[in-house]
Symmetry: C2
Subunit: 449 residues, 2 copies
């Protein structure tokens, strides 16, 4: 009899799990439940779609019918799953009970809304789904002043897009730097400066205290002052959506997300749960650079976790390793990227880091179009292991951060990196000694007392 | 008394050795001998300088006086070293004898000229020094037909540049593919096709049999036919320059170059030679992906080897590891890159490889400006270790090949790569699952019998 696989959620983790299960078991009966109307879209592109650089139609890769036809995956959209019975191996959705042999839960995350007055007013938005994006695009049309709450990369990408659309944009951030937590201040400040030059205003060290207005938004209070605006967008980070899994008592880790094994299986009171797999933004996984737990709420991670969950759900064998969670953001003419631990995160994990930083160019000094490239690499002061890196560049940050991710995940020390790391060189694409290597040279110098 | 350090050669290896020695020992007396008139230039940029994309003035980074003033390094240009006495620790140059405490030999390579008639005619050139480049630029001004002998990356970059200058260009290549040896045929063919579309003509499987003309070049014979031309440029690869080191009996390895230890010291009859260091194109080093010897005649390698040689020559402690020798070439709108072993090279080392290849885009599918990206990854059929990779892309090949280099050098298997490798994702700079990862997925599938 065909294996019955149920997937809850149609984000990157859920969609990949379903496709991966199909690849592993051509005969399985695969059913997906999603509250969304759209499936298989790329939420990371929403800032560009709002700005109009990318058409909404292009953001959604395929309609549900495509999956039915091409992959024999049944997708029930706008369908909320009300409960899971992990003993009976069933889920209940829209009043019906569905039996499963394997279940993949990829219920995603929820945008964190601070507990302040006024967040229910007209004109308050979050950035999560295509539908959120379309609502923002419609709302800003008539607006002049927009507040973006949260100076993470999504908030910043969005803020610049709105400025390009002619809006007056203020970013309100609780911390004292942009891209807090994952970027060091000295790497984040040039991005803030660039955005200020482009016309974005910032109110820093100021949690949003309230959204004001009668029926609809008229302003936001932050740092004790009112910032008048017609639209407020919360880009305040994502928390794991535990609505379903908490009902059946799946263990929640220190990070407030479902703790999983390398097979993407959850635990109940410390014991592995058979036949259930969890993936994506609701998951707590392991760090590749500390021995601690971490969250990796990235589209790229969701895809990798989904692939493992789906394959295992279909009777295959796959594992998900520790993560360094490399990220990159394109903010106008700037690219900012990071991997592993920032100085702040390292300190949170009890790791004292030494850093090395170098600035150079993305191409040979004399080659036309060369752009500035700054690389910062962090290593543990005790072991000299590379535990993180950050890049600010005019171009080509992505491959470099993936390179540094590989070094960190493979446990290279800074000294070992200098002995065994090489860069490809051609005048139009790098300096003869890439700035990544120069940064690690500085790092090794900085170990000296 | 100040340590006397002599450096022979002013290429990337020699210049870096001198600077690295200065950094390690501020008091040393450092003297460099070079036959060249220019020092510290980037030979890799010569094709672009000939085309006029980069000014000759920009190619030379500093005049010798700069090094005298800023780094207290004495450079004797246009000065040939006639001999080394490693027992007396002296070198003889221009009739004078100079004593050294440490000697760095970075005498570089010589362009291989096939033993055929006519290579001494007017209008025959090699591509090695700034002076070669300037002579070519002057000679092609009046020429219409140019033959480039050798379809390696320098030959191809040059050929396209000459086409852009309005010349009629034929590339003559002995092997049956462009970029032979280091690129697999299926990755090289699209580059040849692109160049053909741009107007470059190819005569393949045809060694140059002779250069014809009376006093000056009138044509080239290849594959039994005459190709009329006024200029012939040999880009036929570089051999180690052993003129000096063979006189003192330094061991030459299987690759025809000076065998060195990880400290960049040469051997005599298998015994390490004290106080001499060798670096750059004349060196045989170790492969990071096989246990065999290899040569790595790249500017980036020369810089790394020079840094190790210079530091050790100055009493410091540095090591040079095995190399995967990543390379990249920008040929018009195409980038081609590689690392580690090609299928052909692997076979030469007795390694049977399995490959995986994937094609996708450099950005998210829907993001404007996305360019095609093809990645091929090779692993040893027995151990599943990643031993090489190649990329053809419209942009951003360099960082990706450096990433794959790190994976190969760290001994990752293809399976391990899928468990532990991550890519940073942002719609304008990569697909959510980078094509590199898709290629390794194919590779793992292809292991199955």
């Amino acid at each position: 009899m065909a294996r019955k696989i149920i997937v809850i959620g149609s984000g990157a983790a859920g969609m990949t799990a379903a496709s991966s299960a199909r690849a592993a078991d051509p005969a399985a009966e695969i059913t997906m439940f999603t509250e969304d109307a759209d499936v298989a879209y790329s939420p990371c592109v929403i800032p560009w779609a709002i700005e109009g650089k990318v058409a909404w139609g292009a953001v959604v890769m395929h309609a549900p019918e495509y999956y039915a036809k091409e992959k024999n995956i049944t997708i029930l959209t706008k369908t909320k799953v009300d409960g899971i019975d992990d003993a009976a191996k069933t889920v209940v959705a829209a009043g019906n009970t569905y039996r499963y042999d394997s279940l993949v839960v990829a219920a995603g995350g929820k945008v964190f809304m601070p507990p302040i007055p006024g967040t229910d007013l007209d004109g308050v938005f979050v950035v999560r789904t295509v539908s959120d994006g379309k609502k923002i695009q419609a709302a800003v049309k008539a607006a002049n002043d927009v507040v973006v709450a949260g100076a993470g990369v999504i908030g910043l990408e969005l803020a610049l897009g709105l400025v390009h659309m002619g809006k007056d944009v203020t970013v309100v951030e609780m911390m004292d730097q942009v891209i807090p937590r994952i970027a060091d201040r000295d790497m984040a400040d040039p991005i803030q400066l660039y955005l200020e030059e482009e016309g974005v205003k910032f109110v820093m060290k100021a949690p949003v205290q309230g959204v004001n207005g009668a029926g609809k938004v008229s302003g936001v209070t932050a740092a004790g002052k009112e910032i008048p605006c017609e639209v407020v967008i919360f880009a305040t980070g994502v928390r794991a959506n535990l609505d379903l899994t908490s009902k059946i008592g799946l263990d929640v880790g220190r990070m407030g997300a479902v703790a999983v094994s390398p097979t993407m299986q959850p635990y109940k009171k410390g014991r592995l749960v058979p036949d259930i797999y969890v993936a994506g933004d609701m998951v707590q996984c392991y760090s590749a650079v500390t021995s601690g737990p971490t969250m990796s709420q990235l589209g790229s991670t969701a895809v990798r976790q989904g692939a493992v969950a789906g394959k295992n759900a279909a009777g295959g064998r796959a594992q998900f390793g520790g993560v360094a969670s490399p990220w990159v953001s394109v903010i106008g003419e700037k690219q900012v990227a990071g991997t592993g631990l920032s100085t702040g995160l390292a300190s949170w994990y009890g790791i004292d880091v030494v850093s090395g930083k170098a600035t150079g160019l993305t191409r040979a000094r004399y080659y036309p179009g060369a752009k500035e490239l700054t690389v910062k690499v962090l290593a543990d002061r005790t072991s000299h292991r590379i535990v993180g890196a950050q890049i600010v560049a005019g171009e080509e940050a992505t491959g470099r951060i993936d390179w540094l991710t590989s070094a960190a995940v493979n446990g290279m020390t800074a000294e070992d990196f200098l002995v065994r790391s090489e860069n490809a060189y051609c005048p139009p694409t790098s300096m003869v000694k890439d700035v990544v290597i120069s940064a690690v040279e500085k790092l090794v110098e900085n170990f000296k007392p």
